[in-house]
C-alpha cells in the first residue's frame, strides 16, 4: 500500500527534479561564458558535442575516465588514501545494496534465476555491503565531526546526506534483526512455504520446526522453553531441509542482523506484538523513497552529477570545446560539487581566510555562493562584495582544480566569476594588487573597455575618502616630534630621516615612465616622505603614486638616510585599503589593527 502509493510519487518528484536541473544547466550561466548563447543554442551545441565525442578517438578518453575516475575514484585515491577507502566503501557498498537488494527483482532476478535474496551468497553479500557502507560512514562522521580539519565547513546538506544514509541503513539492519526474532513472521512463513499438513494449532510438526529455529536461527517464541528433546530437534531439521533450506540460508550469515536479533531477543516478543517489523519496513522503504525523491536537489545528487563532471572534464577544454558547452558544463559542475572540502583545505590562500574570516575565500563556500548567484537570487551588496573579495584573492594557482575529486574546473569558474563581479561596478581594492596579475596576462581575452573600467573605478574609489584631507586648510603641526603614523611593520617609521635629496624619485622607474610625472602620479616618492614628515597623512595615502609603485625597492635601496621608502608605500596602501574595506561593511580584519 505504502509502496504502491509512494513509489510513483517519489519517482515523479525525482523525474521533475532532474528536468529542473537540466533546465537549470542549459538556461543559467556566468555572464562571461553564457551571454552569447540562448538556451536552445546551448542544447544544440550539447548534442553536437556529445555526438562528436562518442564517435571519435575521445571515446577512449571517456571510457578511461569512467573506469579510473568514476568507478575507481582515482582523484580521491591520489589525494587521501583514508578518504578514498571511506568513499569507496560507501560507494560500492551502496551500489551493491541498490542493485542487489533494492532493485533485486529488476536486476538480479533476470541475471541469476531463480533469485532469492535470502540465499547465499546474496544473503551474506547484503550484510557485507551494509557493513561497508557503515564503515565508510563512520569514517565520514569521524572526519567531519571529530577530526578537526582546518577550513572544512559542514552545511545542512552534509548533515542531511549522512542522516538519510544512516536512516536507510539503520532501519534496514534493525528490521533484519527483528524479523529474525519475530514469531509472527515465522508463523507467516511457515504457513506460506511450509510442507506441513492439516491443522496448525498444536501441530507437532510446526513445533519441531519452531524449536529448531529458536535453537539455531535466532527465533524468539513464546512456546519453546526449557530443555529440548533431541528427537524433536531432529524432526525440526528434517522439516527445515524440506521447507526452508532451498530459499533460506542460516540467519547467522546475516552477520549484522543476527547479532542485532540476539541483542533484541529479551524484548523480542514484546516488539513483535507491537507490530514493529511492519513499522520498520515502512520507515525503511519511506526513507529510501525520500532519498530518491529529494536526490536531485540534495548533495546525494552527486551520484549522478559528479560522474557527468568527471566525464566532461576528461574530454573538454576551453581551446577545443564549443564555448556554449563550456557555459553548460560550468552549471553542471555546480551540481557536481559534493562539498567534500578538499579545495578549501588545500587552498593556497586559506591563511587569508583565517585573518579575514570571509568564507567566500574558500573555494567550496565560494561555489555555494556562486550557485545562489546564477540561480538569480538577489544578493545583498555586502554579499556581492564579500564574494568578489573572496574570488579576487584567488591566485589562480590551479590547486583546487587539480585536487577536486569531482573533476570540477574550479580555476575557470573563479576567473569567470571574478570577471562577472568586477563588471558590476564593485570597487574591490584587491584589483590594485598583484592579484590582478593573471587578469593582466589574459588581457587580450577581454574587450578593452571592459578590461579597463573596473581598474579605473577602483583607483578613484580608493582615493575618494582622502579628497577632503588633500585640499589642505588644516593648520600644520610643525613641532619637532615626528607625528605617529600607525604603521604595521615596526621598522617602517623612519620617514623623518628624509632630507629631501630626491634620490628616491630620481631612481624610480615609474616616475621615469612619465613625461610629466606629477600630473600622472600626484605626489612623487620624496614628496610623500615629506608629506608624512609634516603629518599630512591624507595627501600621502590619497594619491595615485602609491598604487603605481612597482615595489622594485630601488628607492629604499638608494636612500642615503635609510628611509624605508617602499615599505612606507606599502603601509600607505594598507591604510587606504583598510579604510575602504571598513566602509564596505566587510567583517573581519583588513589591514591595520588600529
Amino acid at each position: 500500500m505504502v509502496y504502491q502509493f509512494f513509489l510513483p510519487l517519489a519517482l515523479a518528484i525525482f523525474g521533475l527534479g532532474l528536468i529542473y536541473k537540466i533546465y537549470f544547466w542549459f538556461s543559467k550561466g556566468l555572464v562571461r561564458t553564457s551571454r552569447n548563447f540562448t538556451t536552445w543554442e546551448r542544447v544544440q551545441a550539447a548534442f553536437q558535442g556529445i555526438f562528436k565525442t562518442i564517435f571519435s578517438l575521445q571515446a577512449g578518453a571517456l571510457a578511461k575516465a569512467l573506469v579510473l575516475d568514476v568507478l575507481f575514484q582515482r582523484r580521491t585515491f591520489k589525494e587521501d588514501l583514508l578518504r578514498w577507502a571511506m568513499h569507496m566503501s560507501i560507494y560500492w557498498g551502496f551500489m551493491v545494496l541498490l542493485l542487489m537488494h533494492a532493485l533485486g527483482s529488476l536486476v538480479m532476478a533476470p541475471l541469476f534465476p531463480p533469485y532469492y535474496s535470502t540465499v547465499n551468497p546474496f544473503f551474506f553479500l547484503r550484510d557485507l555491503s551494509g557493513l561497508l557502507v557503515l564503515a565508510g560512514m563512520s569514517l565520514a562522521v569521524y572526519r567531519r565531526f571529530i577530526q578537526k580539519v582546518p577550513r572544512l565547513k559542514t552545511h545542512f546538506m552534509d548533515y542531511y546526506a549522512l542522516a538519510i544514509l544512516m536512516l536507510i541503513l539503520g532501519s534496514g539492519i534493525l528490521m533484519e534483526g527483528i524479523k529474525i526474532t519475530s514469531y509472527s513472521e515465522f508463523l507467516q512463513m511457515a504457513r506460506d512455504f511450509g510442507t506441513i499438513d492439516s491443522k496448525w494449532e498444536g501441530n507437532q510438526e510446526l513445533q519441531a520446526l519452531e524449536t529448531l529455529w529458536v535453537r539455531q536461527y535466532g527465533l524468539v517464541s513464546p512456546n519453546v522453553k526449557g530443555p529440548v528433546d533431541p528427537q524433536v530437534l531432529a524432526r525440526g531439521r528434517e522439516i527445515h531441509e524440506m521447507s526452508c533450506l532451498e530459499c533460506h540460508s542460516a540467519t547467522s550469515w546475516a552477520f549484522l542482523g543476527y547479532p542485532t536479533a540476539k541483542l533484541l531477543s529479551p524484548i523480542a516478543l514484546f516488539l513483535d506484538r507491537t507490530g514493529l517489523p511492519a513499522i520498520l519496513w515502512v520507515v525503511h522503504v519511506l526513507s529510501c523513497l525520500v532519498g530518491l525523491a529529494y536526490l536531485p536537489f540534495s548533495k546525494m545528487g552527486h551520484i549522478l552529477f559528479t560522474p557527468l563532471s568527471l566525464l566532461m572534464n576528461a574530454v573538454m577544454d576551453r581551446e577545443r570545446s564549443h564555448p556554449a558547452n563550456i557555459a553548460t558544463r560550468q552549471m553542471i559542475e555546480l551540481d557536481a560539487c559534493t562539498h567534500c572540502g578538499t579545495c578549501s583545505t588545500r587552498c593556497s590562500v586559506g591563511a587569508v581566510y583565517e585573518t579575514w574570516g570571509n568564507e567566500n575565500i574558500l573555494p567550496s563556500e565560494k561555489l555555494h555562493s556562486l550557485k545562489a548567484l546564477v540561480r538569480g537570487k538577489a544578493l545583498e551588496p555586502v554579499q556581492l562584495r564579500s564574494l568578489l573579495e573572496g574570488v579576487y584573492c584567488c591566485t589562480s594557482c590551479d590547486r583546487c582544480t587539480v585536487v577536486c575529486p569531482s573533476g570540477i574546473n574550479l580555476r575557470e569558474l573563479w576567473v569567470d566569476l571574478k570577471e562577472d563581479l568586477v563588471q558590476r561596478g564593485i570597487p574591490e581594492r584587491l584589483i590594485l594588487s598583484p592579484y590582478s596579475f593573471v587578469r593582466g596576462l589574459n588581457q587580450a581575452l577581454h574587450p578593452r573597455k571592459e578590461y579597463d573600467a573596473p581598474i579605473q573605478m577602483v583607483r578613484q574609489a580608493v582615493a575618494l575618502p582622502f579628497e577632503e584631507g588633500k585640499k589642505g586648510g588644516i593648520p600644520l603641526d610643525l613641532s619637532h616630534q615626528a607625528p605617529a603614523l600607525p604603521v604595521f611593520l615596526p621598522d617602517a617609521r623612519n620617514f623623518a630621516n628624509c632630507f629631501v635629496c630626491q634620490n628616491c624619485t630620481n631612481i624610480c622607474p615609474v616616475v621615469a615612465a612619465f613625461e610629466n610625472p606629477e600630473e600622472a602620479l600626484g605626489l612623487l616618492p620624496h614628496q610623500i616622505m615629506t608629506s608624512l614628515g609634516l603629518g599630512l597623512l591624507d595627501p600621502a595615502r590619497g594619491n595615485r603614486m602609491i598604487w603605481d609603485c612597482l615595489t622594485c625597492y630601488q628607492c629604499q635601496e638608494h636612500c642615503p638616510q635609510g628611509v624605508m621608502v617602499t615599505d612606507l608605500l606599502y603601509e600607505l596602501k594598507n591604510l587606504a585599503a583598510g579604510n575602504q574595506r571598513g566602509s564596505a561593511g566587510l567583517t573581519g580584519q583588513g589591514g591595520l589593527r588600529s
Binding site: L432, S433, P434, S436, L441, D548, Q589, L592
Partner: protein, 295 residues
C-alpha cells in the same frame, strides 16, 4: 643537502617547465627536495592591502618548513623576497610574532624563527658551489649571449634579502658563465620587469618590460635569462602580443636558468621544456659546442 621546495602559485599553474627543470637540475646536482602539500601562498600579492594577512601567509609556510627541520628553497623571487621579509619582521618583532603565532596555533603550528629561506640561484652558487656545478657540465655552450634578469625582489632590499651585492650582483652572471654562455652586462639588468603592476597599470608595467627587452636586444642578447615566474611570464606576455613599436623585431625569448643549466648538464629536453613556450626558447641547443654535441 635537503630543502623544502617552495613552488608558489604561478609556477604550478603557468610555468610548469620551471618546476620540472628545477627538479631535474637539483636532482642531478645532488640536492634533495621535500614537497609539502600544506604550503600555501607566500602572501606577496596581499602585502599591498593587508600586511597582517601577508605575514600570516608567509609565516605559515615558514612554520611548516621549520616543523620539518628544513630550510626553504624558493623558485620564485617574489616568494623568496616575501618569505625573507616576513622572516626578518618576525625575528625583530616579538609582539608581531606572538600575534601571528596565535593564528598559526589554530592549525597546531608555531614559528620560532629557526628557518632559512634561499632562492634556487643562491643554493646553486653557495650550497652546491660554482666549482662542483662546473664539474658536472658536459655540454657547454659556445657563442651564446644571455642577458640575465637579476630580479628585484631577490636583490632588494638587500638588508633583508641578503641575496647578492645590490649594486654589483655577481651570482647570476657567474652561474650563466659556468655553462659556457656569455653573461651580458646589459644596461637594464637591475631594473624591474614590470610584473607587479600588470593588471593594475598595464601601460607602466609593459613599458618597463618592452624597454628591458629592447635594451637586451641592443646589448646583443640571444635570450633573456630568468629565474622567477613573474619575470618570465612578463617577458613572454609582452612579446606574445603585437607590439606596435617593435612588432617586426625578432623576439628575445625568455629562458629559465634551470633550462639553460639543465641542457648543459645533459638533461633530456622533455624534462626541461615540459610546457610549451609562448616564445620559443628551444633554439639554445644549437649553441652547444659542436665537438660536444656528438660526445
Amino acid at each position: 643537502m635537503k630543502f623544502a621546495l617552495f613552488i608558489g602559485c604561478n609556477i604550478p599553474a603557468r610555468v610548469g617547465q620551471y618546476l620540472t627543470s628545477a627538479r631535474a637540475v637539483l636532482d642531478r646536482l645532488g640536492v634533495e627536495l621535500a614537497d609539502f602539500r600544506s604550503f600555501g601562498c607566500c602572501g606577496y600579492p596581499l602585502r599591498s592591502l593587508d600586511q597582517q594577512g601577508y605575514l600570516l601567509s608567509s609565516a605559515r609556510n615558514l612554520a611548516i618548513a621549520e616543523n620539518a627541520g628544513l630550510d626553504i628553497l624558493a623558485l620564485c623571487k617574489c616568494c623568496f623576497g616575501s618569505l625573507k621579509k616576513a622572516a626578518q619582521v618576525l625575528k625583530e618583532s616579538p609582539s608581531l610574532k606572538e600575534e601571528i603565532n596565535r593564528f598559526l596555533g589554530r592549525e597546531g603550528l608555531e614559528y620560532q624563527s629557526r628557518v632559512q629561506v634561499k632562492h634556487i640561484l643562491s643554493v646553486l652558487y653557495h650550497d652546491v658551489g660554482l666549482e662542483a656545478l662546473q664539474g658536472k657540465i658536459i655540454k657547454p655552450y659556445k657563442g651564446l649571449k644571455v642577458a640575465p634578469q637579476v630580479g628585484c625582489h631577490a636583490l632588494r632590499p638587500s638588508r633583508v634579502t641578503q641575496f647578492d651585492d645590490p649594486l654589483h650582483p655577481v651570482i647570476f652572471d657567474a652561474l650563466v658563465r659556468a655553462t659556457g654562455a656569455e653573461s651580458l652586462a646589459w644596461d637594464s639588468r637591475l631594473d624591474c620587469c614590470g610584473a607587479p603592476l600588470l593588471g593594475v597599470n598595464d601601460e607602466v608595467s609593459l613599458q618597463r618590460t618592452r624597454d628591458k627587452i629592447k635594451k637586451s636586444r641592443e646589448a646583443g642578447a640571444d635570450y633573456l635569462c630568468t629565474a622567477c615566474p613573474f619575470c618570465h611570464l612578463q617577458f613572454e606576455t609582452a612579446q606574445k602580443r603585437p607590439l606596435s613599436s617593435e612588432g617586426s623585431e625578432k623576439p628575445v625569448a625568455p629562458l629559465l636558468y634551470t633550462q639553460l643549466l639543465g641542457l648543459s648538464l645533459g638533461i633530456e629536453e622533455e624534462r626541461l621544456w615540459s610546457r610549451e613556450d609562448s616564445v620559443d626558447s628551444r633554439g639554445i641547443r644549437s649553441y652547444i659546442r659542436e665537438d660536444e654535441k656528438h660526445a
